[in-house]
């Protein structure tokens, strides 16, 4: 009985932590578009999904990459920071954030 309760709680938590099934479907489509190089379409889908699932850190991560593609690095860093606030332990987001930070720093002219 105790085991069953633990199982139910953890599965319940897992279900809560993922986006709603509709958001998941839209976001998944967005990722597929991004993999095809259609970043504007991907960004549009992830924003749609974000309205349905505003606390999904993964969406912020993906939107940050889309912002990088546009060359908007300030926005990208903000989005990565939001993703990290929602899930500070996620290694994927941290890796992306650090790579972007390093890239942005390398863009600063030496003379200034």
């Amino acid at each position: 009985m105790r085991r069953l309760i633990i199982l139910l709680i953890l599965v319940g938590l897992s279900a809560c932590s993922t986006a709603s099934s509709q958001a998941k479907q839209i976001a998944g489509f967005g990722t597929e578009m991004a993999k095809e190089g259609l970043w504007r379409e991907a960004e549009f889908r992830w924003r749609q999904a974000l309205e349905l699932s505003p606390d999904d850190f993964r969406l912020y991560n993906n939107l940050a990459i889309a912002a990088e593609i546009r060359g908007d690095y300030d926005e990208a860093l903000e989005l990565y920071e939001k993703a990290l606030n929602l899930n500070p332990r996620d290694k994927t987001v941290r890796k992306n954030y650090e790579a972007t930070r390093q890239f942005v720093d390398s863009q600063l002219p030496d003379s200034e």
Partner: protein, 227 residues
């Protein structure tokens, strides 16, 4: 019992992470600024480079004029990007020692201002052509007794090495960017044409040189979440 509970928790965590979706590696070409602040029409002075061989006692094996070819090449490359390029190979560098050359801000400031340029390019260049022909051992099967033997064959090769240390110096005489570049290649021929070899070894450096002065796309890797 406790052990079983722990196993259950671990299984659930694995399940939940599976529900969170996978990640996908994406290789991007992100918009990047030029390494130095410059605009089309700005003047760049191409000053002489220190020839590495000139510093050593080694007899140069190259028959091409590396100074001429390099400065001409840089001028053509940067003119394509609409910069106003001035080449002056007659400038007498204050030192062949790179540290001293770099530190002589007064010399550079005066030279660059004299040409009304925004930046100057200088540094060092070393182009080496080496005969790398040698004997190598290979197996062959004898037609006579069908046994495998080893034999020595002469492999004719030329080794080409090009090393450039490029300094970008601003109008204040300060080296604002140092770009070390190095290419090495072996070609399957002896006495390979040196001029052709020079351009074949400098070509892979083209993008890095241009990236100093023009906005470009930089290779970056990120990880996307699947859902």
């Amino acid at each position: 019992m406790k052990r079983l509970d722990s196993l259950l928790i671990v299984s659930c965590l694995i399940l939940s992470s599976a529900l969170m979706g996978s990640t996908h590696r994406v290789d991007l070409r992100l918009p990047a600024k030029a390494a130095v602040s410059i605009e089309e029409g700005d003047r760049i002075l191409i000053a002489p480079f220190v020839l590495a061989l000139a510093q050593s006692d080694e007899k140069p094996k190259t028959v091409i004029d590396v100074q001429l070819e390099l400065t001409d090449y840089l001028a053509k490359l940067l003119r394509k990007k609409k910069f106003d390029i001035v080449v002056d190979r007659a400038i007498v560098l204050p030192s062949a020692n790179l540290d001293r050359l770099k530190a002589d801000t007064e010399f550079w400031k005066e030279t660059i201002t004299g040409y009304n340029a925004k930046y100057a390019l200088s540094g060092t260049v070393d182009f080496r052509v080496e005969d790398r022909s040698n004997y190598e051992t290979e197996e062959f099967v004898s037609a006579y007794d069908k046994r495998t033997y080893l034999r020595q064959i002469l492999v004719e090769k030329t080794g080409l090495a090009l090393e450039i240390l490029l300094y970008v110096i601003d109008a204040e005489g300060t080296v604002v960017k140092e770009l070390p570049l190095k290419t090495f290649m072996d070609v399957e021929a002896r006495n390979y044409d040196q001029l052709q070899g020079f351009f074949e070894t400098i070509y892979p450096m083209e993008e890095s040189i241009l990236n100093l002065f023009v906005p470009h796309k930089a290779k970056q890797r990120r990880y996307l979440f699947g859902f």
